[in-house]
């Protein structure tokens, strides 16, 4: 196996394109090194993207926020301004693993590992994040949910890699939140995850809403009916019941040791409601 640490996007793309399927992008390594050591994969080359400036920066512009793909959970947690703008996204990334893992694990890696239970993904979908993808034909951007195909697989062409995630600066009265259910208080994988972002009108009704779920389908999913239920409404019991039903209807989970189909489907509704209450409260204060 070769190890390469290019300093530019172009060099990384050239290395990945030349090596074909045997090359793997390497950032925090908290998933990849385990897969290599357990001989689940045998890459011919690792392309370490941490020396590429664009993957390491968090840029907070007037209209746009960019989070580099190889920014770690610990670094995001220390970025007070980002935490204020997207508390849900930052909290989701900070739920991943121990403090030791937080020092290494990256937001791009959590996304690219393509686990259906990845905590950052529902939060990124809810926040309306777009991935900036570099490849042999230049750079493209794609809504993060459009890149998800199935467990372990993203819609990326050979030679393509994710450089950063792009978010619009939230309008006034916007808040986001992410909650997950695990049977213990720390160090576990989501049984269900729910990310929510809401924007409120001056009269306190809902102006925009995105609700996304994790660990309840082969990929994280947007709750498509959420805007129809929420727009123009206040957050009363009837609206919450409708949202819970829509969230549960979005689920297509599996039975496994972490949770049954029935449990996951039910908890998805509960978590969507709890998360929207937090996001709503944050939106009122912003």
């Amino acid at each position: 196996m070769r190890y390469e640490a290019p300093e530019t996007i172009e060099a990384a793309v050239a290395l990945l394109a030349a090596a074909g399927k045997t090359a793997r992008v390497f950032a925090g390594g908290t998933d990849l090194i385990i897969q290599i050591k357990e001989e689940m994969i045998e890459p011919g080359m690792l392309v370490d993207i941490k020396k590429i400036k664009e993957t390491r920066e968090v840029i907070l512009d007037d209209d746009e926020i960019r989070i580099g793909a190889s920014v770690t959970g610990a670094e995001l947690g220390e970025n007070k301004e980002l935490k204020k703008l997207f508390p849900g996204v930052v909290e989701a990334v900070q739920l991943i693993g121990s403090d030791q893992v937080q020092g290494r694990a990256t937001i791009g890696g959590n996304f690219c590992n393509a686990s259906p239970a990845a905590d950052s993904v529902p939060a990124l979908i809810a926040a309306g994040a777009k991935a900036v993808v570099a490849g042999p034909n230049g750079t493209r951007t794609a809504a993060v949910e459009d890149l998800l195909i199935k467990p372990g697989q993203l819609s990326l062409a050979p030679g393509e890699l994710i450089i950063s995630f792009c978010l619009s600066r939230p309008p006034k009265n916007t808040g986001d939140a992410y909650l997950r259910f695990i049977p213990r208080s720390e160090m576990d994988i989501a049984v269900v995850g729910a990310g929510v972002s809401v924007t409120l009108n001056p009269d306190g009704t809902c102006a925009a809403a995105r609700v996304a779920l994790g660990a309840v389908a082969p990929t994280a999913r947007l709750v498509e009916q959420a805007p129809d239920i929420l727009l123009g409404k206040e957050l009363d019991e009837r609206v919450l019941a409708e949202l819970a039903a829509a969230a549960s209807a979005t689920c297509q989970p599996i039975n496994d040791k972490r949770g049954t189909i029935k449990f996951r489907t039910s908890v998805a509704g509960v978590l969507a409601c709890r998360a929207i209450k937090i996001a709503w409260e944050r939106a009122e204060k912003n």
């Binding site: 196996m1 190890y3 925090g28 090194i33 050591k37 357990e38 690792l46 030791q100 720390e186 160090m187």
Partner: protein
Amino acid sequence: MSKYHVTTTINGDEVDFTCYADQTLLEVLREDLNMTGTKNGCGSGDCGACTVIVNGRPVNACLVLGAELDGANIETIEGMSTGTELHPLQQKFLDHAALQCGICTPGFLNMAKALLEKNPEPTETEVRYALAGNLCRCTGYDKIVRAVLDAAAEMRESTS
């Protein structure tokens, strides 16, 4: 398979090593540099026994590659005491009998050291959360937490 030449600082000393692309920092430390104070527990980032500090951040040495460490500053358990004088955390682990078999201890000590550098006055809950990625199967958690809180108090006194 070619080897990579890496220049690092380990416990304040410049250390050069060569390693293969798939060698972890844990393997480099234990097998090539004979620094066996860092323990190999699970090898998958779950147990925290191999916790070392790289560029100021605690990490699992089993989840870091040697090849990516050119220019890195690494702190291991071997650098924790000053000569024969134990670090307050080490002394408090002894005082509180916060270890039995000792395999988890270097990882706990490094994690606690990193915590106290960031937060000199942690609550018990903060200590427990910070140490959540370190497993002790002799189940000495309570004594470990008390040792860390006691060391924190002593370190605050000595700096005030």
